[in-house]
């Protein structure tokens, strides 16, 4: 970079919180792409086939469920049939419903967990829990923990990026670093013309270079006039990095050199900067560039998968994500990136196998059971782990709690969830609090 002369190695004296770090054990995955579906995806309509639910439709059931306690009109509840057909796919024969025809073509790369469960049936709490392991209080996001544990490979881009068109439940808390150093907070990317705030130069590049050169002259003089001034050294370096980011970030989000075939694969119109297809292709380009943790959030806190009123709303939400997700998996695989990238697909909770009428058009929140899946680095391909009971009410074998999912993600990244701690407010905090078991059954 002309004009910016002094490359200072601030990282070496421990001042750079994002410096590349070794994990606790050899990592299977270098990067994570975390796909979060906002609002609660119905497991029994997507990834967890329940023929018995169809057979017994209308049967009254008695359960002590958090969503029906003291709720007028919910004194009696009845089984509601799934609205989409399932069929077996791939070599492995994993059953997926017609809501996800494209993802269904990728099942041989996927480890599907059908026995997920979580602590809370409220969006806010369950969403916070899925991101931070805490269901009430603000805590660091999983992306922040990974960044804290491992640093990042590319100093020209943030270590943790969240791409979200709108804010999900619990707002900025889902990608906040909370008590971890601020460098680990998720950088928000909003699909659109300026994805990262302030990354577009407001003056001509040639002029900005002159300004930065003048700034570095001032800063160097300031530095030379003072003894011991690590703070200033570190800050001088950030301008060089930021200058790089101005180039690298727009480049990461500039898809003009992506082929027609790639655009077609993702179902992305050339030039469009919207939709989950854009988010998925951006995610691939970011992990290619070494971003440690990329989260994609599909929608905001309204107009999402929360289909109380009508399950048919799932159709357009699935359509928004299905092809792009499958494209992402295929694209990563085709480029050899799936071997070093862990892809996680999840939601905050499932939806009830019942409602107060068998023909009620919608389903309620269901934290007792839902489905998530993993794919890529270190993941056992083409497998199904755990199962729910005949109605999809509760996990029956191998239940996996959110903390277990978190422990497994960290494990694949080379981090031991019990050793990744931060001292705050008089105690050592962990992403998994005091819980969590690595789910060996999904590991390759």
């Amino acid at each position: 970079m002309p004009g910016l002369l002094h490359r200072l190695a601030a990282a070496e004296d421990g001042l750079d919180p994002l410096a590349f770090k070794q994990g606790h054990h050899p990592a299977k995955a270098k990067n994570v792409i975390f796909l979060f579906m906002t609002g609660g995806v119905s497991h029994v309509d997507t990834f967890d086939p329940k023929p018995k639910l169809t057979a017994d439709v209308g049967k009254e059931v008695k359960v002590d469920h958090p969503e029906i306690q003291n709720r007028p009109g919910y004194e009696r509840i009845f089984l509601k049939a799934p609205q989409w057909d399932f069929s077996a796919h791939g070599q492995c024969g994993t059953e997926v419903s017609t809501l996800f025809p494209h993802v269904a073509t990728c099942v041989d790369d996927i480890a599907l967990i059908r026995s997920m469960h979580t602590d809370h049936s409220n969006h806010y709490n369950a969403t916070l829990g899925m991101h931070t392991g805490s269901f009430a209080f603000a805590r660091p996001s999983i992306g922040s923990w990974v960044s804290y544990g491992l640093g990042t490979a590319n100093q020209n881009l943030p270590s943790f990026i969240t791409i979200a068109p709108k804010q999900t439940y619990a707002g900025t808390q889902v990608y906040a670093s909370d008590f971890l150093p601020g460098a680990h907070q998720g950088t928000l990317v909003v699909p659109g013309p300026e994805p990262i705030a302030n990354v577009t130069p407001r003056v001509a590049k040639s002029q900005q270079e002159l300004e930065l050169a003048a700034l570095q002259r001032l800063n160097q003089r300031h530095l030379s006039q003072r003894t011991g001034n690590a703070l200033s050294e570190a800050r001088i370096k950030t301008f060089e990095t930021a200058f790089g980011m101005q180039m690298e970030a727009p480049a990461a989000f500039d898809f003009s050199r992506e082929s027609e075939a790639t655009h077609k694969l993702y179902g992305l119109e050339r030039g469009s900067t919207e939709g989950f297809a854009w988010q998925c292709l951006a995610a691939r380009r970011l992990v290619e560039r070494g971003v440690r943790f990329v989260e994609l959030i599909d929608t905001g806190s309204s107009g999402n998968w929360d289909s109380h009123g009508n399950m048919l709303d799932h159709v357009k939400l699935a359509k928004n994500v299905d092809q792009p997700i499958a494209a992402l998996l295929k694209d990563l695989k085709g480029r050899g990136l799936l071997e070093e990238t862990l892809v996680v697909w999840t939601t905050e909770f499932g939806r009830t196998p019942f409602n107060n009428k068998a023909d009620a058009p919608g389903r309620e929140h269901h934290n007792w059971a839902f489905s998530s899946w993993l794919a890529g680095a270190g993941v056992k391909p083409g497998t199904v782990y755990g199962a729910t009971d005949e109605y999809g009410m509760n996990p029956e074998t191998d239940p996996v709690h959110v903390h277990d999912l978190h422990a497994t993600i960290l494990h694949l990244m080379g981090l031991d969830h019990e050793q990744l701690t931060f001292r705050h407010s008089g105690r050592d905090f962990r992403l998994t609090d005091v819980y969590g078991n690595v789910v060996d059954g999904v590991l390759a």
Partner: protein
Amino acid sequence: MRSWPLDYFYALACLSLLLAGPLVAESKKSEGTLWSLRPLARVEVPKDGHPIDSFIQANALSKEQKQTPRASRRELVRRASYGLTGLPSNPKMVEAFVADARPDPVAFRDVYEDLLESYHYGEHWGRHWLDVVRYADTAGENSDHPLPHAWRYRNWVIDAFNEDKPYDQFVRDQIAGDLLGQDLPQAQRNAAIIATGYLAISRRFGHDIDKRMYLMYEDTIDNLGKAFLGLTISCARCHDHKHDPIAMRDYYALYGVFDSTRFSFPGCEPKQQPRDLIPLVSEALVARKKAWEERQAALDAELKSADQPNKSKALKTLAGKCYKVVSQGEVPEGGSVQVTKDPVVLKVRKGEAIQLSISPLKNHGADTTIVDFSISHTSGGKMTRWSVNDHFDEFLTNHPVQAAEGAAWCFLDIGSPDPRVLNRRDVAVSGHEELNAWTAHDGGLPSVLINDSNQPVNVWHTLPPRTFFCHPSQRGAVAIAWLSPVDGTVTVDLSLSDGHPGGPDGVEWLLEHFAETSVARAYRELCEVSVPRAELVAEIAAHAAKSKELMIPVAYAVTEGEPKQARVHLRGNHEEIGEEVPRQFLAMLGGGKLGDSASSGRRELAERMASANNPLTARVMVNRLWAWHFGRGLVATPNDFGNHGAQPSHPELLDYLAGYLIEHGWSVKALQRHLLSSATYQQAARDDIRPDTFAAFARRRLTAEELRDTLLVASGELDRTPGVAHPFPPEESWSFTQHGPFADEYDTKRRSVYVMRKRNRASRFFALFNGADPNASTAQREATTVPTQALYFMNDPFFHNCAAKFAKRLRKSGTTAEDRLEIACRELFARPARPEDLADFREFANELESIVERDAKSKDAEIWNAYARVLLASNELLHLD
């Protein structure tokens, strides 16, 4: 499978920190081991020099490390200005100090005395305290409701620092000001009530706050412990504290105090409206307000009683027997219909009625419909014509509205089970004098209304001039009846059109003829008993006018609730209730009963929290003051004086300062004067020495607030007036949900302490520059340095805008580059320009000139805009020596 309450998991989390031991036990006998509980030591003050310097130098840590020489006067004044007011130093003050011939310490004293007297001092130090108490302008529950009255507490904190309120009183007021201030004059009493906003701003949780109060109490107790005592009491919610002598009983003993307190309620998704806000007036005004409300209720009741069931039923029965449908149909959304395109001629008798009714289509209800409805009759060659448009000037006089030849118009709500006369006069609808309406007694829909002016009125839609409208309700129809004074044939003319295109879904109309000569009498009798007497109407209006003078300001604060003892929540699970615990103070601090059957115990709690005998009260505060001045506490964990926190680096100095604070009447400013007068404070800065030796001043970055305020000062646009309430939407309009939480942002040119801060949606700027966490106590700001901050200085619109305004000021104030640089350096860096500054500038200007193609004047502007950015982004600006 079970659905565990989330608290159960939390409880297990806490529990697992325990290695062994009973869940509920008396405090562990480890008081002797916790240094911070020892009584304040009577420290022997060194005879020579400034006591603080002597303590610092005598410390073993400092033996190896020589003190750094004095900072220059320029460094010192800039340091003190930011340190005390959070604002850049005033160039005049700098030059006066530099020119002062007196010795450094004497001259410097005048500098900090001036700064301590500035109003901006309270804003800066208030912000420090607001960090500790995790102040925010929203509640933090799932829909993040705004707190429109919390600002009074924010300003109270600022005022308290400015007035140098004794720290012990500062503590007591925040816990129990409402109780302790009862006998004070009104203004002081109100201030003491506002102080308890400290408790009220506790974070709220969940969907229905009322069901998650145990989580709020945890937040209250957590903050109370950390802020005033440096103790992590909330660790004892689920089990006895693992490291400190705090038993689970201690936690629930305090829990009982807050459970006996009534907190202002902010609103939440199922209960949108706030409640239990505390009125800030004398009891006399409250009594007057109460009397006003009682009278209002009586007037409402009188008006309501006017719905006469008997007369109403009579009309309904009669009309039901004699109705003939003349015509019916629909007016589509945005459409208009000429109902009587083909003439409608009816034969009527005197005393019969013709009624038009308008109902909503679908279920959306209310839609403004323009009604042009007239009836004409020719008798003996003379034609009489009655129209709803005849009465713009006496519309609200009588009901029924009297018309020519003894005819009348009558307006009814027929969506109710029985017809109701629209008996309430709504003068100046939505504040528009031209709009007058007849509405139901409760003021709601349906209604008929007119625009009586010659001009259109912009209200929910542009309503045309001199027009009659009706407005059905969601429930059903509004009716307009014409009472016939004639026998013979009449011709009906009727046109309807949607007066609010783009509103809901159109309307349906029905035209009926009630062919029975007693119908008109039934209408009139119903009107007679329904429409209130003129005196009552006048009284209602006069009464309403009085409400303005009774507007009572309110505080978001606390008051006494129903006194009760808490019961232990086994393993922290609020659904597993254990034994009752009497309200009492922490056993390790001597215990003591709090409250009784008639009081919450906050009064006693306040006394014990703010006592000279409580070794933590003064120790914790002097450590905070030290940390905020020196960048690091004598105890490096200002919120944790427990066994897991840091040990004091200079225990004697800490106790000396605690004693000093108490002996000086708990005056925060007195202690600050003592700190600022030390050579330790006045050392030059460097950051390559062991920070706990305090052998140099710790260079620091400006905080987020200092940076923003500095940019506003440079732009010349900082509004230095104190902040007031935020422009939140009115409470009546609230409908925040977890799907659509409160998410506004409000721009202001005031100081950053007055910027509205939300709990669930962090401001991008404050998050970027390590602002305080509005969800948890922040003892000290971090200063992480990341490239996204550099992007802010390169490309942020606010930064560019401030720089452009700064450049404009420089160009206006000085004609030469020398002059302009001189001003810039003095304002930003508290020093004159040096030759190298000019050389740097010239080098830059020459380079830029060669690539910018503009005329001379705009070239000059471009160069200075650019150089203003360089100066404002420099380390010399952002870092404080």
